[in-house]
Amino acid sequence: MHHDIVQQFEVLAGGSDHIVEILGIHDVSVEDQALLADRFADIVLKRLLLRVSDDRIEDVKRVLSEETSGPESFVSVLKASIPDFDDRLREVMDQTVADFRLPSRTMRK
């Protein structure tokens, strides 16, 4: 079991570290880091959802409505439904960093 749990923590902690880094919010309180990181994630995810092809919207809705669906299926359906996913993700991350009015420093190739 435990190996998988460790991996899950790596995903969550790695994501947190990454967002704290690109927003440059190392020195604010942990509560504020959480608020800012969650707002950042909220905007990025919504923008990704808006880049889903029209003909795949029902697929995304179906995955979210399935009782047993997990994060893996969510990521899979997003990747399959957004053309050039990696480029779009980078675009959206950069755009969102700019919206927080901080320069993008870590999404460079």
Partner: protein, 152 residues
Amino acid sequence: MPFEERPVVGATEKNKETETVEERMVVTSEGDLKTEQGPTVDEMLSRTEKLSDQLEEEVIHRYGGGFVTKLREKMAGWSEALLQKGEKTVDWFEKKGIPLPKSKLGMRLLSVGVGTAGSFIPGGAMLWGLSIVLWKREPGARKEFPSELATE
């Protein structure tokens, strides 16, 4: 050692209304160097609140009412399932040579997960959602997605 006992660099509490998130050195039009204050936490939150609401309206327009709520519920369920495990300690992670999170936020998440902090802080569900989207894109990240994530 519990998370709370660990010294964290830069962890001093400050006034959120005046605390800026970053200072940068910039060159003025006269060619001088000066320090430029970044926005405060409140400024960043207020600046992006309207954007978040606007995007939410667009998502609802495309996906229908209730979709965003459902998305948050699902992500909250996934993250709670993980953070309630409480089966390991921070020391255990260290002894296994597993890198600890670098950020205070990452450490708080870890401490909740291992049971040394009672509950998480506001937000978190969407953060988990983005974390899994970013998975595999970090340099050195594992190539395989954790299989246990697929179950609730």
